[in-house]
């Protein structure tokens, strides 16, 4: 299945993408997607269990992904 990954701030800068598509086996979880991202160039700077959101709502590492999901990997927030 295909999942759209959104990256932001320092994560986007290090991986060189703000948005990309990744292919994962059906039934994959957030942690599987993160492992895949950490194997990309620059990906080692991602923490093993970063803050994530699926389809714009916060999610946990063991949340199951579905085809077409938007998975956001969220650096420590610093608004205000």
């Amino acid at each position: 299945m295909t999942v759209t990954v959104r990256l932001f701030a320092s994560y986007a800068e290090r991986l060189g993408h703000s948005s990309l598509s990744i292919e994962l086996p059906a039934g994959s979880r957030v942690e599987d997607a993160v492992t895949s991202l950490r194997n990309m160039p620059g990906g080692s700077m991602l923490p093993p269990t970063p803050l994530v959101a699926i389809n714009r709502g916060y999610a946990s590492p063991d949340s199951v992904l579905s085809e077409g999901d938007e998975l956001a990997v969220i650096p420590p927030v610093a608004g205000g």
Binding site: R6, F8, A9, S10, E13, A53, R56, G57, A72, I74, P75, P76, V77, A78, G79, G80
Partner: protein
């Protein structure tokens, strides 16, 4: 009740007018502005970025929480993204309620929650030419 990520300068007077209602006796406001120094470094400006769609949703959820917790009916929050100079307003929270306690508490709640939950980031540019991502109390130098 309105929450938005904005790309243009924030106008506090317009937001104060937006929450005005004859039943309200108290309007509380918080404005975050870009400081000239942070942890001892001279700041030239800050580049704010956001996961716009989710930040908006999260801020709306925070406003709804103040409706339950403090019976707030008139509130607005705007967070600006883009490149801001010293003194520019990055966030404005405005809450109007019949009595003062609710508006004061709600503004504080909204500010804390937006800072802690809304997917927004800042990249500080320093006068010495360096820059650094600010996050969760730590700064990660990138150059």
């Amino acid at each position: 009740m309105r929450a938005a990520i904005v790309h243009e300068p924030i106008d506090p007077a317009a937001l104060i007018a937006e929450v005005a209602h004859e039943s309200n006796g108290a309007t509380s406001v918080f404005l975050g502005t870009v400081r000239s120094d942070n942890d001892g470094k001279d700041v030239a400006g800050i580049e704010y970025s956001a996961y716009d769609e989710m930040a908006g949703t999260e801020m709306v959820a925070i406003l709804e929480e103040t409706r339950s917790a403090f019976a707030v009916e008139h509130a607005v929050v705007e967070h600006r993204v883009g490149t801001l100079a010293i003194g520019d307003i990055s966030i404005a929270v405005v809450v109007a309620t019949p009595h003062r306690a609710a508006s004061l508490s709600a503004v504080q709640y909204i500010v804390e929650e937006v800072k802690g939950r809304a997917p927004i980031w800042k990249l500080e540019h320093y006068v010495d030419g360096t820059r650094g991502w600010v996050g969760a109390g730590s700064r990660e130098a990138t150059r």
